[in-house]
Structure formats: structure tokens, C-alpha cells
């Protein structure tokens, strides 16, 4: 019977980890925020999310069938993209915009570049940027309970005169204007803790990102140096969603420990600059997209010092 022995090179056993399990963990971690979104914005939040997931998965399957590749929709990666895109849309967005966004995310941003692991930008964020540029009005129309409501960042910025800033507590639990998945900091943090415990993500990117925004928005306050309100900036807009769930996207962020921290700081700098001085009230998506593009070069210049490496003395 030993004629049937398998011969391969070592190692001969491997961890239980799998791409499917990692993606499933991300899906699980996004569930509290989805539930919060449904409670705050109504059942349409669920409808938009399901629609985005369905279109994302279907697009992936169709393209893989057309190009005669293995259909890999069971790895949940398209599900994650669908949920994240929905989380970046206002609840009142027309359904066809959500559908177009999903198709764009998977077809153009992911599959055109070679599918899982080969895209150079976060598909959900790139799709959001595309939608915002194409349909700016429906993409920035925010409502809570059917009443138009400005986002805290818009209020801080003063671009929309309506209303006062919500209390910190309301900001934390999510009673504020915004896109479906970003509003409840509380729900997002539950998911983030889950991802940290499951070791799907580390704190390197989220922490350096959030701390950079905190410091910069505090230092560069409206009424002079050190007068800013970092807590509002942390809890307003998409920072928590972006820092824990989108900047940490494996494929589009650096692999080196030092690179991940630089990436986080870079995201933080761009976000702060856009929020404080740019034309848009919010800058999380653009910051992450910009840093996505810088990722290969960051990896190149932040390779860790190899064990036993001898630095050749420079002449």
C-alpha cells in the first residue's frame, strides 16, 4: 500500500486559515453596523445592501464564466465588496445607482486587473468615487427618518447651514446623517474588536490612521492652533468604517509593518487636509484610494531589516 504515498516538499501540514474564513470573518464583523444601519435608516438600508451584494456576486460569476475561469464566488470576497459599497451609499440612493456601482467595483476595479488579490484600489471605494463623480446629487443626499439631514462634517465645515451638531453620544451610537454603514461608531467598533480578536487585522493601520486625524484636526483648528475638536472628527464621517474595514484591505495596503504605519499616517494626513481645507466635507475614501496607489512603492522602501543583515558601509 505504500505505493500510494504522497511525496511533496515540506512543510507537510498547514494552518486551518483560509481566504474563505477571512472573508467570512469580515462579513461577520460588518453585521453589527448593518443592523445599526437598518435600525437608524429603515429597511431600505437592508434592501440596498442585499442589492449591492447580489450585483457584486453576480458580476463576479458572469465575468468568470465569460472568461472561462474558475468561478470563485464562494470565497465571499465579492460579498465583502458588495456590503462595503452599500455601506458607502446614502440610504436614499436610487437602486440602479447602487447596481451600477456594484458592477463597476467588480468588473472594472477588480476583475479587469486580474481578480482577487490583483486589484490596486479598493473596489468598493473606487466604485463610490465613480458614483459620486457621476451622480453627485443623489450620492450626497442624506436623510434620517425620511427627513433631509446634513452630516456632522458638512455642519462642521459650514457648507450646509442646517442644524446643529449632534451630541457626542448620538454621534457614537449613530443618530446622525451619513451613509448606511458609517454612522454607528458603536456597532463598527464591535466588528473591529471581532476582527482584532480573530487576528484578521492588526491595529497598525487603523490606529496610525485615527491618531493622525486626531492630532491634525486638533492642531489645525478653525480658531487657531490646538483649537480643533478631534473627537468629532474621529466619530464623524467614515473614519472608523474606513480605518478598520477599508484601509485594512489586504490587497491594497502594504505588507510590511513599517509600511502599514506609514500607510495609516498617509491616510490620516490626506483625510485631515481634505476635511479641513478641501472642497469636500469628507475625505476618507479619497485618502484611502490615494494611499492604495502608493502601496507598492511603500512596500518597496519599507522592507524590514533581514535577520543578520550586514549593512555594507557606504563610501
Amino acid at each position: 500500500m505504500e505505493n500510494k504515498l504522497y511525496v511533496t516538499s515540506s512543510p507537510h501540514f498547514r494552518s486551518e486559515d483560509s481566504v474563505e474564513r477571512i472573508m467570512l470573518d469580515v462579513v461577520i464583523a460588518l453585521m453589527p453596523a448593518l443592523i445599526a444601519g437598518i435600525i437608524i435608516f429603515g429597511i431600505r438600508a437592508l434592501f440596498i445592501t442585499v442589492l449591492c451584494v447580489a450585483f457584486s456576486v453576480a458580476t463576479e460569476a458572469v465575468i468568470q464564466i465569460l472568461t472561462h475561469k474558475d468561478v470563485t464566488i464562494n470565497d465571499f470576497s465579492a460579498v465583502v465588496t458588495g456590503i462595503l459599497l452599500a455601506f458607502n451609499l446614502p440610504v436614499s440612493v436610487p437602486w440602479w445607482i447602487a447596481a451600477i456601482g456594484s458592477i463597476f467595483a467588480i468588473a472594472i476595479v477588480k476583475q479587469v486587473f486580474g481578480g482577487l488579490g490583483h486589484n490596486f484600489m479598493n473596489p468598493a471605494l473606487a466604485a463610490r468615487a465613480f458614483l459620486l463623480a457621476s451622480w453627485p446629487v443623489p450620492m450626497s443626499h442624506f436623510t434620517v427618518d425620511g427627513i433631509a439631514s446634513a452630516t456632522p462634517l458638512a455642519i462642521i465645515k459650514g457648507t450646509e447651514a442646517s442644524g446643529n451638531l449632534p451630541s457626542l453620544f448620538n454621534m457614537f451610537i449613530g443618530l446622525k446623517g451619513g451613509v448606511i454603514g458609517e454612522v454607528s461608531i458603536f456597532a463598527l467598533l464591535i466588528g473591529a474588536v471581532y476582527l482584532l480578536i480573530r487576528r484578521v487585522i492588526t491595529l497598525r493601520i487603523p490606529l496610525s490612521y485615527i491618531l493622525t486625524v486626531a492630532v491634525l484636526t486638533w492642531v489645525l483648528g478653525k480658531n487657531g492652533l490646538f483649537t480643533g475638536d478631534p473627537l468629532y472628527h474621529i466619530m464623524a464621517g467614515g473614519l472608523i468604517l474606513g480605518a478598520f474595514f477599508m484601509a485594512t484591505d489586504y490587497t491594497t495596503s502594504p505588507v510590511t509593518p513599517k509600511g502599514q504605519i506609514i500607510f495609516g499616517i498617509g491616510c490620516g494626513i490626506f483625510t485631515s487636509i481634505i476635511r479641513l481645507y478641501g472642497g469636500y466635507p469628507e475625505g476618507v475614501s479619497y485618502s484611502i484610494l490615494l494611499m492604495n496607489i502608493a502601496t507598492p512603492i511603500i512596500d518597496k522602501y519599507t522592507a524590514p531589516k533581514v535577520f543578520g543583515e550586514v549593512k555594507t558601509s557606504e563610501q
Partner: protein, 441 residues
């Protein structure tokens, strides 16, 4: 008293599976009929046979003479008749010229085997001579001739000797049992190595999952100056030479250099035991402890086995296969060599025979790299395995070199953690071979 625990950066925490065999004392197993003794069981030049077919040989008789400085002689492990000198598959995975001896079952010892003087009365060069003549090589698996380590370049002063008792490979318990049962001999071996090198400090590095062994070795160290146990955190690959040195001494072996460069020599605890026996009884390296284990073995055991004993006999002695065997591995699951036949012999570097059943060797198709960076965090050499592997698979070995592929110690941590089941260390090993070959031209 809280003892300091030593460790290193990177690495992985695989399940140990040591409970399958770590409770069983070492049993002696004597080969039934033939032993196959390869003339190359070490890193370095193969031996020249000293016997002919039909010669009668005795236990401990030298049957292969070392060729050159980096080489080690081989000895017969049985008494009986030489029946063949021919190429045979070895557990190193290669065909090696081997001396096949039909045992007469008597185990008559060679007359040349007699006890040496006490360590205290031996001069360093006498210890080196004994070690060389006994054919002792690194028994942790690397099989580097020990004599060469005891003879460092004259400009290198060795001050620290480390015995490697980490046994960080899952499943294996041979070193663990040896430390439990022969602590005094192991410490004697350490003292002999220290004396041969003129080193003042000796450590036995043991992972903290072997508390009983730590206790025994500590007890054995008490009587002597300058020797102690260094407790290591349990983590793979703690037993890597570079990493056990780093953990215990804080010194880093420079890339491409040997530990002697920084004044350290590392030997396996099994090697130290063999040295102690060579001094005490004049016994050459003709047997070793082998863990026969795995879910595919009926009753796992730790066996003291004569070099040359075929795997088949040991597997049968341990109750045979449990279920359908998928892989038979010489060594541990992380760095061991998968065998295509069980008619290969135990050699000096065989620390274990691991049988994994068919359902445990799931050969999964690799998925695309998602750049999760688990391999980066796991690599104990601080390499970027994902990039080296990607370049290797594109045959761009110059790029692999830029990414320090040659520093890879092939521990397999990267492949272990990869969620996409990519052949990381496998492709890096390939690149390493290509780069080294190109360098030699």
C-alpha cells in the same frame, strides 16, 4: 522565582501533537535482519567503503572512511556479513551508495571499542579526535559533521556553547525523552564540547512546554560551573540555530556566516549525548533515538534504533499503519522529507518517522495571494516571502536575490500560515538553489 524566558521575533504556533508520544519511555529496538548503512549520512563528502561484500563486520567497526575535512566516517551497527555495496534510496531523498549488512543477531562488539579516559583528563584535541572517529554529526537533522564545529577557524574565539533541546518541530519527542532519561550524559556531552572549544559558558535551551525536561537537566547542571538551562518560549522555529542563539545570547549570526563568527557553537542534545557515549564507552554513532509517531501509526513510540534499520521494521514494530497512510515523513511535519518508500534506513539525522493519514494531508489548490502579510509577520528571518515567491514563480531569480532569498532558513512558517495555501517556502527554496548555483559558476 520567575525565570527569564527567551524568544525571538516572528514564528508560528502550530499544534504540537507531542502528546501522541511524549509519555512513552525510550525502548530499545534491534533490527531483525538487514541494515542499510548509507556512506553519506552527513553534509559533506561521501565515505569510501572499508569493507567488501562477504566480509564479516562487528558492531562499531568502521566500514566507511571519511573523505576530507567536512565528512564523517560510518560504522556498522550490527555484527554480520556484508551482503551488498550498492546504491540504495536513503531517507535523505537521494540514492546513496550504501553498505547492506545481514545481521547475525549476536551484536558482537568490535575489539577497538573501549572506554576513553574521563573528560577531565582528556585534552581538547583528544576530544576532537574521539568525536571525529565516532562519526558524530548534528543529530537535529542537519547532519553537519560535529568535528568541524569543534574546530572553528583559529581567529574565532568561542565563548558560548548552546545545546539545542528546543525540539520545536511538532510531533517529535525524541530529544524530550532523551533529556528526561539521560540528563547527566547530556550535560557531560556539553562539558566535553565546551572543553574542546575552550568555552566558558554552556546553555541547554529547552522550550517551556517541556517542564519535566527543564527540571531534570537543571538538576544535572547543578554540579558544574558555567552550565545552565535557558528556558525558551514555545514557538516554531525556536530550534533554528540562528534563533536559539539570538534568543539566548542576543547575538545575531551575520547573513551568510556561521555561528562561530559571533563566538557561539550550537549542538543538538542528541549530539551531546552521542559525544558523551563516545567518550564513556568508546562507542561510535551507531544508534539514535527516533520518534515513530503520527495519526497514521497504531502505537506511537520513542525508540533507540540502530543506524541502518529500515523504516518498515519500525513501523511494523509500532503496530503498523492506522488507516491508509498518506505521507511517511523522515523528521517533523515542518521540515521533514516525505518518503516514497518505507524501505529506506534510519540515518544519523533521522529524528522521527511521522506517518500522516491520507485525510490529514489535504493537498489544496493554491489560491491567489491576497497580500494578507501573514507570511511577513511569521518569517523569523524578516523576509517578505510573498514577493520572493512571486518572483521565483516567474523565474526572476535576480529579483529573488535582491529580496534576500538566500537568507531563508526554509522553516516553512510562511507556507504554514498562508490562507491561500500558496507554495511559498517551496518556491523560495527553488530560488535559493538557483541563486547559489549561479553564484558558484
Amino acid at each position: 522565582m520567575k525565570t527569564r524566558e527567551y524568544t525571538f521575533f516572528g514564528g508560528i504556533h502550530p499544534r504540537s501533537y507531542k502528546e501522541l508520544s511524549n509519555k512513552y519511555p525510550i525502548e530499545e529496538y534491534l533490527p531483525k535482519s538487514q541494515v542499510i548503512i548509507p556512506l553519506q549520512q552527513h553534509i559533506g563528502a561521501p565515505c569510501t567503503p572499508l569493507v567488501k561484500v562477504n566480509d564479516y563486520v562487528k558492531v562499531g567497526q568502521k566500514i566507511g572512511e571519511a573523505n576530507g575535512f567536512v565528512s564523517a566516517p560510518v560504522h556498522s551497527s550490527v555484527s554480520g556479513k556484508v551482503v551488498a555495496i550498492e546504491d540504495r534510496p536513503s531517507s535523505s531523498g537521494k540514492l546513496v551508495k550504501s553498505i547492506v549488512i545481514e545481521s547475525d543477531g549476536e551484536f558482537n562488539y568490535d575489539d577497538n571499542i573501549k572506554p576513553n579516559e574521563d573528560i577531565n583528563n582528556l585534552k581538547p584535541e583528544e576530544i576532537r579526535y574521539i568525536v571525529r572517529e565516532a562519526g558524530i554529526v548534528g543529530m537535529g537533522g542537519a547532519t553537519f559533521p560535529t568535528m568541524v564545529k569543534l574546530n572553528p577557524p583559529s581567529d574565532k574565539k568561542i565563548d558560548i556553547v548552546i545545546l539545542n533541546g528546543a525540539e520545536c518541530e511538532p510531533y517529535l519527542t525524541a530529544d524530550h525523552r532523551l533529556m528526561l532519561e539521560k540528563p547527566v550524559d547530556i550535560v557531560h556531552g556539553l562539558l566535553a564540547i565546551m572543553k574542546a572549544l575552550g568555552a566558558s559558558k554552556g546553555y541547554v535551551g529547552i522550550e517551556d512546554n517541556k517542564q519535566d525536561a527543564i527540571k531534570e537537566i537543571r538538576k544535572a547542571c547543578k554540579e558544574y560551573e558555567g552550565v545552565e538551562v535557558a528556558v525558551l518560549k514555545t514557538k516554531y522555529p525556536q530550534g533554528s540555530e540562528k534563533h536559539i542563539i539570538k534568543a539566548i545570547t542576543g547575538r545575531e549570526v551575520p547573513s551568510g556566516k556561521i555561528p562561530a563568527e559571533i563566538g557561539v557553537v550550537v549542538d543538538n542534545v542528541g549530539t551531546a549525548f552521542a559525544i558523551a557515549e563516545a567518550i564513556k564507552y568508546g562507542k561510535p554513532l551507531i544508534e539514535r533515538v527516533v520518534t515513530v509517531t503520527g495519526e497514521g501509526i497504531m502505537t506511537p513510540k520513542n525508540l533507540r534504533v540502530k543506524i541502518g534499520t529500515p523504516f518498515r521494521e519500525l513501523i511494523e514494530y509500532c503496530g503498523g499503519f492506522k488507516g491508509t497512510p498518506g505521507k511517511v515523513i523522515s523528521g517533523g511535519p515542518m521540515m521533514g522529507i516525505a518518503q516514497y518508500s518505507i524501505d529506506v534506513p534510519v540515518i544519523k539525522g533521522t529524528s522521527g518517522i511521522l506517518v500522516l493519514p491520507e485525510d490529514m494531508i489535504a493537498l489544496k489548490n493554491p489560491k491567489p495571494c491576497i497580500k494578507c502579510a501573514r507570511c511577513v509577520d511569521a518569517c523569523p528571518m524578516n523576509l517578505l516571502p510573498l514577493f520572493i515567491s512571486a518572483y521565483s514563480l516567474k523565474n526572476d531569480f535576480d529579483k529573488c536575490k535582491e529580496y534576500h532569498a538566500v537568507d531563508c532558513i526554509e522553516c516553512g512558517s510562511c507556507s504554514y500560515v498562508c490562507p491561500s495555501k500558496r507554495p511559498l517556502v517551496e518556491s523560495i527554496r527553488l530560488a535559493k538553489g538557483e541563486i547559489l548555483r549561479k553564484g558558484r559558476k
